[in-house]
Amino acid sequence: MLKVVEVEKTFDRFMAVNRANLEVGTGEIVAVIGPNGAGKSTLFKLIAGHLKPDSGRVVFRGENVAGLAPYRICRKGISLSFQVVNIFHRLTVFENVQVAVLARQKRSFNLFTRARTLAIEETLDLLATLGLSDVAHQVSASLSHGDQKLLEMAIALGNRPELLILDEPTAGMSPEETSTTMELIVRLNAEMGQTILFCEHDMELVFAIANRIMVMQQGVSIMQGSPDEVRDCKAVQDAYLGGSR
């Protein structure tokens, strides 16, 4: 479904991403791992269009989307959930997700219908899937950090993307919240066939749920393969797996 080919990105002489390669097949869960500063977030932003690659291609379903505006890429089916919580802080939880749903339904220029009568079921379903139903009418800025991360994901899901990209979905969460979130990811993939690309620091979880793993270090893709292949690879062990996070 997604093929990232030799993508590069430089910020003022600092090469954040240096010839990254990645492949994601339909229905897979693919994880990107690497130490802090490896360029994972940058790579994700490059795929979703929030940054433009200096060179290389991002091929999504056969089409090169590198350099397109983020909203165009989103309409093609890619949705990114950010590492740093990036929600609509003055809107309620319900409204946060509803905006994404309305955008997908191409209703964002509708000037006259009462918004609170639209897309109710779909939004509530989504909130229920993520366990946010009981805070649906709370202003999102007042949520706990864990709930905000879930909301982050809910907004991305509101687009019903073909490819869901999650940038450190469990960062800052408690152990319980982390395992709930991971179960959720597995469920989304198993029950709804959602293709997921994510990055994480907790190796146990990554190895438990990912179909394939790509390893990055200092902006370069070292290798990509199944969990076993990655575990056995000497280069990866030297670079990264020596000490656990």
């Binding site: 269009g49 989103c74 990114l80 609509f88 802080h89 809107l91 309620t92 309305l102 964002s108 202003v139």
Partner: protein
């Protein structure tokens, strides 16, 4: 959606205000009727600004240009073109909206302070043209004694016309705020990067917002001429633009009726305090400073938020 209790307080207060407004020509003197009409016009202008400021988070620093454009178009069409008056009523807001589109297209390429400053420069250009084009616009004298149609020429006529038009405009704007566009626009205000990420063409939405806001500013301009009977370049001055910003801040720019309240406060201040001292602007200035220090959400915003400030439950559906 959740069950909301019927907002009896709002309904009662709202009806009382409405009845008071409809009846006021009967018990207020001519001057006060004129004052109320002026408050309505200024309130409409401030609300139109808030369509992009509070709703969309856009730094609309020179909104007065569109107000003046509406007023001048209306006045010029009535005095110079031979066309029937309904043409002037229709053309004025449309011209204001077109100017809004033209300036908007250039401004939305940037954000925040740059957006505001570019708008200030473009608006100042328009002002300078109007100010100096004596033969066409009357220059710094303006145009006086505009021949408004007879049904709005009297004090009562202009008042009721203003009341009705304001009411309709506020209703329409309120619907827009509650529409999907309104929600999405608020999302853009809160987080435009995220909005881009969920498939929203932010610039296009901002342009639509500009169109709406400037259209209604144009309507307010028309109403000003109806009430006042003249136009002058001060209507397009950046001074007025900042005053309108203050009205929105004062009343509360995250509420719908806040700007109206802010406009009322300032117009009343100017008239009442202005009677006692020629330094009423200092009075306003001090209030503004106190506001910025202590009440950044404005008067209405503070009152709406205060009882629920701790538990972070949903805001009341005043939006």
């Amino acid at each position: 959606m959740s069950q909301e209790p019927t907002p009896w307080k709002s309904i009662v207060v709202g009806t009382a205000v409405l009845v008071g407004l409809v009846c006021c020509p009967w018990f207020l003197s001519r001057f006060y009727v004129y004052l109320v009409a002026l408050i309505l016009v200024t309130g409409l202008l401030a609300t139109s600004l808030n369509m992009v400021l509070g709703l969309g988070g856009m730094f609309q620093f020179h909104h007065a240009v569109f107000y003046g454009m509406g007023a001048y178009t209306f006045a010029l069409m009535l005095t110079k073109s031979g066309l029937p008056s309904w043409c002037a009523f229709v053309a004025a807001p449309i011209c204001a909206a077109l100017l809004g589109l033209a300036i908007g297209v250039i401004c939305v390429r940037t954000t925040k302070l740059y957006f505001g400053m570019i708008q200030l420069s473009l608006g100042s250009l328009v002002w300078a043209l109007v100010f100096r084009w004596y033969s066409f616009t009357g220059g710094d004298d303006g145009i006086h004694g505009v021949p408004v149609p007879s049904f709005v020429a009297s004090g009562k006529g202009s008042f009721y016309f203003t009341l009705v038009v304001c009411g309709i405009c506020l209703f329409v704007m309120h619907r827009i705020v509650q529409s999907p566009f309104g929600r999405v626009f608020q999302g853009i205000r809160d987080n435009s990067e995220r909005s881009e990420g969920i498939g929203i063409d932010v610039r296009r939405h901002q342009l639509v917002g500009e169109l709406i806001a400037t259209f209604f500013a144009g309507v307010a301009g028309v109403l000003f001429v109806v009430v006042e009977g003249s136009v002058f370049p001060e209507l397009m001055n950046w001074h007025l633009s900042l005053e309108i910003l203050i009205m929105c801040l004062l009343g509360g720019w995250f509420t719908f009726l806040g700007p109206m309240l802010g406009a009322a406060i300032i117009v009343v201040l100017r008239t009442v305090v202005g009677v006692y001292t020629e330094y009423w602007t200092s009075f306003l200035a001090i209030i503004l400073m106190l506001l910025i220090f202590f009440l950044p959400e404005g008067v209405l915003g503070y009152f709406l938020r205060a009882p629920k400030s701790r538990d972070g439950r949903a805001r009341p559906e005043a939006e």
